[in-house]
């Protein structure tokens, strides 16, 4: 049976909330910060979900007593996650920097193409109103 730790749960929840709130902003830089905080929250969650904390998993010769030690597997996974988060943070920073350099700001603007899809019908109708008079071909041999 694992012990449940309210403080850790609150910290994780807080990091997720702040991280997602920052990711919901339009500034790429804030999104990067949010991403870093989310990474911290996730690593902690991995560790907490993994089991009860304890002595460091360095047996020091006391192999026969694994009871009081922390579970090393989530630690190894979190270790991997920390390093990858670092790599991705650097990459996101570079993206933000590049966006700023190309456009003069680092904001995530709305995708204009997405909005254009919604109006494709109106534009098509406006464009082909004349076509329709002449272009109606018979479907199959039906007529």
């Amino acid at each position: 049976m694992n012990t449940i730790d309210v403080t850790m749960a609150l910290v994780i929840g807080g990091l997720f909330a702040v991280g997602f709130f920052l990711m919901l902003q339009r500034s790429l830089m804030r999104i990067v910060l949010g991403f870093i905080l989310l990474g911290h929250g996730t690593n902690l969650l991995l560790l907490v979900a993994g089991g009860t904390p304890g002595r460091p998993p360095v047996p020091d010769g006391r192999i026969d007593d694994p009871a009081g030690t922390a579970d090393p597997l989530p630690q190894a996974m979190a270790l991997t996650a920390i390093v990858i988060t670092f790599g991705l943070t650097a990459f996101l920073m570079a993206l933000a920097y590049r966006s700023w350099r190309m456009t003069g700001h680092d904001e995530v603007r709305d995708d204009v193409e997405d909005r254009r899809i919604g109006t494709v019908r109106e534009r098509a109708e406006a464009g082909s109103a004349a076509d329709r008079e002449t272009g109606g071909t018979a479907p199959g041999g039906e007529r």
Partner: protein, 951 residues
């Protein structure tokens, strides 16, 4: 059977290469394959008709239950003869008919024949489905032709959409059927039919698919439209073979499903309605092909009725009619093809007197049409007798069979009428117009028509053979109350004979009185319905797109987060186990760290300065590292401290160039509130999840076994052993990701932008600043002359130079001691990387060059290569990849040295991390610094010019 399918595929693929050399002879070559199929089926016929069967199985993925099962039974044999026999004749006919695109059409027709062969031999629902869709694809390609004309493309698309949609519905039904039966083998399902509500649903779904494929109302619209295809294609696909696939499926499953609730009413209602209404529509058509197309729909309705009815006599009649229809309908289509080809039209109003011009064609076509009308002694008559018998005397299971007989009489009479109309319209009248100029067809052109029409006669006169073939299938049912019905041309003066005569008389009357027929269409206009459905689907798609695809990233994320909160949140709320008694904290240090972390995180939201933001994020990171330490994860804490520092350096170096403040927010308060609510809800959910997840664990940890295996790994630090040994593949993947991220970062920062004016080889840094790090260095502080004295701190520079070797030694210590205590390749590499960062920050680019004299990419690459090589090396010794052993050496002086070979893997990780840090420094440090210098220069020049301008 497998070799047959392989032969179809191989010859179909080879035909485009052969066609240029063979010319028109290619059709004869193509026809050899179906002819061989007919012969092969002939050699197997005796045993199959005696109740035996042939099976073949090709295991593809047996563990998934995916095997190619083939089976030849009486129904398959009948279909195989139809498919291959008509196929061979159509291919021979094409020799005269097809003018262009011969290679493509021959290959597609043969491929279609192969798919159809597979379809009728399949004994596994998935194999059946695959061949089913292959025939649809072949049909699409053959209808579309080269796709040069709008109506061809449209008809092809319509046929594809309707039959594929039907096919998907059918697949659902077949899966449901196989799932309830516990087997996907069709013969096993038939042997032990499942029962229950799911089977009723499956029956409905399968029937919908069959109706779409066999053009039953109201899904028939695609078949008349498909008449834009070349006539041989219409004759083969849309009369003899492909549209029979639906009928075949009904015939195949009826013995198992006829007693399932909606099967029989559905089959009878749809089949008979289609039969009568389509025959009525055929009376109004003036295009001969269209007339035949509606005739086909009508006949298919009859076949669905007979084969789906589920009594022995009806099935016998259905099997006979299936043979008869394949023969006479393809003969009639091919005959129309000849007319069209030679007279240039197939319109009843323009054709007149062709019968006198082409008497042979007239004779054989009339013979085929007589079979369609059911005139003795042709096979159509045999079938008609049988189906009147089946419905007039009926069976307890056929409710209202007498009323249904009336419908059948009406349908048959209309069939007689349109058969007469076809012959009269195509060949009747005095010779005039187009017919006068028409060239007589060659004997080879008419021969396939003659063979098919003659087959109708042969099957009728030689009714014993027909009966043997049809009865072998129909014997799947128990005989009716009046004993097994026998096919015969003469049963004496029976009511059934009277009904046959009545249909002929009624049909003749309708034909004579055709001018006074009401012209109202009884069929709903399927074409318009299809177009409207399509347009409605388009509109729906647009409406959905407009409302879901608004282009705002934050909005998408809010939707995602809300979904996360609602769906898994509800599941969590519903199924959460009791929490028991939670501890407030594990260690008394935790609350202090928690306050630091949460305060810093909250402050990040409020700050307006980028630099403050990243510093506060760093504070969160250090706090989290403290938590790792408290919870017994010193390795994590160490790595977290180092990574956090490195992140700070990288981000701050990039931030040098960006504005100090965030862009001013223009977000409305309401939107901010929504975002805060979504984020807060996720936070609450994750908190609950963390509590539940830590309480929910019941199984012992996997890693409990690891502690006992430390001996063989030669390590004492379990985390490090996991990283470099037990789960080394993960680590290999991880360092690859790191490498890719670093390369991406470097390219994003270096390429493009205003800096692309920099010419390769020119400029102070050359093509790549790192390439010049190994320039000869003469002074002890090489960066000294680069910068003015005000920016420098000699004390710091000297201290850094002195500390640098010590830090490197520390990093190596962490690397080598990783197996025994906190540390390892990551931590060591990051420490070494930080030593280099220090050199760069204090001494600039030149000092970094003095510290590392090889390009960053060489360091990174050698790290990656070393790790990969260590991973693959055990393969050479016959071990498994990433295996590690403990090596003990006794070198002189040092004494005993014991290490695990996974140490070399860790050295690879170390090198890679150092290399990645160097790459990042070169990107965000050196080249970004150069950009700044250039930009400053450019500004200075611009200012100079401005000042110089007015002069």
């Amino acid at each position: 059977m497998l070799f047959l399918l392989a032969a179809y595929a191989a010859v179909a693929v080879a035909i485009p290469w052969w066609q240029p050399r063979l010319g028109r002879a290619v059709w004869a070559v193509a026809a050899l394959v179906p002819l061989a199929t007919v012969a092969w089926a002939g050699t197997r016929a005796a045993r199959v008709l005696d109740g035996g069967e042939y099976r073949e199985t090709l295991a593809w993925a047996p563990s998934l239950g995916l095997t190619v099962d083939l089976r030849l039974d009486p129904l398959s044999l009948l279909m195989l003869w139809v498919v291959a026999g008509v196929g061979a004749l159509v291919l021979l006919y094409c020799r005269y008919y097809v003018e262009r695109d011969a290679a493509r059409q021959a290959a597609l027709l043969l491929a279609f024949a192969g798919a159809m062969t597979g379809l009728v031999l399949a004994d596994n629902v998935f194999v059946l489905y695959v061949f089913w869709e292959l025939t649809t694809v072949a049909s699409f390609l053959l209808i579309a032709g080269r796709g040069e004309e709008e109506n061809e493309r449209r008809a092809a698309r319509q046929a594809l959409l309707v039959t594929v949609a039907g096919g998907l519905v059918m697949l659902l039904g077949l899966v449901l059927l196989g799932w309830t039966a516990g087997t996907y083998r069709i013969s096993a399902i038939l042997a032990d039919p499942p029962r229950g509500g799911a089977v009723s649903a499956a029956a409905v779904l399968v029937l919908i698919g069959a109706f779409a494929k066999s053009a039953q109302m109201p899904l028939h619209g695609w078949l008349p439209a498909a008449m834009v295809a070349p006539t041989p294609v219409s004759a083969y696909l849309h009369a003899a073979a492909m549209v029979k696939a639906g009928v075949y499926l009904v015939a195949r499953l009826a013995p198992a499903l006829a007693e399932v609730a909606p099967w029989r009413p559905m089959v009878l209602a749809v089949g008979l309605t289609t039969m009568v209404l389509a025959a009525w529509r055929a009376l109004r058509a003036t295009d001969l092909k269209l007339l035949l197309a509606y005739g086909t729909i009508s006949e298919l309705g009859l076949l669905v009725t007979l084969l789906g009815a589920g009594t022995r006599t009806a099935a016998l009649a259905g099997a006979v009619m299936l043979l008869a229809h394949a023969a006479f309908k393809s003969a009639l289509f091919l005959s129309v093809g000849i007319l069209d080809h030679r007279a240039g039209t197939r319109d009843i109003r323009e054709l007149s007197g062709v019968g006198r011009r082409m008497p042979v064609l007239f004779a054989v076509t009339a013979l085929a049409a007589a079979s369609m009308a059911g005139i003795p002694p042709l096979v159509g008559y045999l079938g008609k007798e049988a189906y009147f018998e089946a419905f007039l005397y009926g069976d307890a299971r056929l409710d209202g069979h007498r009323q249904l007989t009336v419908v059948l009489v009406i349908g048959s009479a209309l069939t007689v009428a349109y058969a007469a109309r076809f012959v009269q319209g195509a060949f009747g009248g005095p010779p005039e117009g187009a017919a006068r100029r028409a060239e007589r067809p060659e004997a080879g052109f008419v021969a396939p028509v003659a063979v098919l029409a003659g087959a109708g006669l042969a099957l009728g006169v030689g009714y014993a053979g027909t009966a043997a073939l049809a009865a072998a299938y129909a014997d799947a049912y128990p005989p009716g109350p009046h004993g097994p019905y026998e096919l015969s041309l003469w049963h004496g003066f029976t009511p059934v004979l009277g009904l046959s005569a009545l249909t002929l008389a009624l049909g003749g009357l309708v034909h004579l009185g055709r001018r006074s027929l009401p012209v109202t269409a009884l069929l709903p206009d399927a074409q318009r319905a299809f177009d409207r459905t399509l347009a409605a689907a388009d509109r729906l798609a647009l409406t959905v797109t407009r409302h879901t695809q608004v282009g705002s990233l934050p909005l998408y994320l809010v939707v995602l987060l809300t979904t996360v909160v609602v769906v898994p949140g509800a599941a969590l709320a519903a199924g959460a186990p009791p929490l028991g008694s939670p501890l407030p904290w594990w260690s008394p240090v935790e609350p202090f760290l928690a306050v630091v972390v949460l305060t810093a995180a909250a402050a990040v939201v409020g700050t307006r300065h980028r630099l403050t933001g990243i510093l506060l994020t760093g504070a969160v990171g250090y706090g989290v590292a403290g938590m790792f330490l408290v919870r017994g994860a010193p390795d994590l804490a160490l790595t977290q401290f180092l990574v956090e520092t490195m992140t700070l350096v990288v981000v701050v170096l990039v931030l040098r160039r960006m504005p100090a403040r965030f862009s001013p927010g223009r977000t409305m308060t309401r939107v901010r509130l929504v975002r805060a609510a979504a984020a807060g809800a996720v936070g609450v959910l994750v908190t609950c999840f963390a509590l539940v997840a830590s309480a929910a664990r019941t199984a012992p940890a996997i890693s409990s076994g690891y502690a006992h295996r430390m001996e063989e790994a030669g390590a004492e630090n379990i985390v490090n052993a996991i990283v470099v040994d037990f789960r080394a593949l993960d680590t290999l993947g991880e360092i690859s990701v790191l490498l890719v991220a670093a390369v991406g970062t470097v390219s994003l920062i270096r390429v493009g932008g205003r800096g692309d004016a920099r010419t390769p080889g020119g400029g102070p840094g050359g093509p790549s600043p790192t390439a010049h790090w190994d320039e000869p260095v003469r002074t002890w502080l090489p960066g000294a002359p680069e910068r003015p004295g005000g920016e420098r701190s000699v004390l710091l520079e000297v201290a850094t130079r002195l500390l640098f070797p010590s830090i490197l030694v520390l990093s190596l210590f962490l690397l080598f001691s990783g197996h025994y205590g906190p540390g390892g390749g990551f931590a060591g590499g990051l420490v070494a990387g930080q030593a280099l960062v220090l050199r760069y920050l204090v001494g600039g680019r030149a000092d970094l060059g003095a510290a590392v004299r090889v390009p960053a990419s060489v360091v990174t690459g050698s790290g990656m290569l070393l790790a990969a090589a260590v991973g693959t090396f055990p393969l050479l010794l016959g071990g498994v990849p990433l295996e590690s052993t403990v090596v003990t050496l006794h070198p002189p002086v040092v004494g005993t040295v014991k290490f695990a070979t996974s140490l070399f893997f860790d050295v690879g990780v170390y090198l890679l991390v150092v290399g990645v840090v160097l790459e990042l420094l070169s990107a965000v440090g050196v080249s970004l610094g150069q950009d700044m210098a250039e930009a400053d220069e450019a500004e200075a020049t611009a200012e100079d010019e401005e000042q110089g301008g007015p002069r």
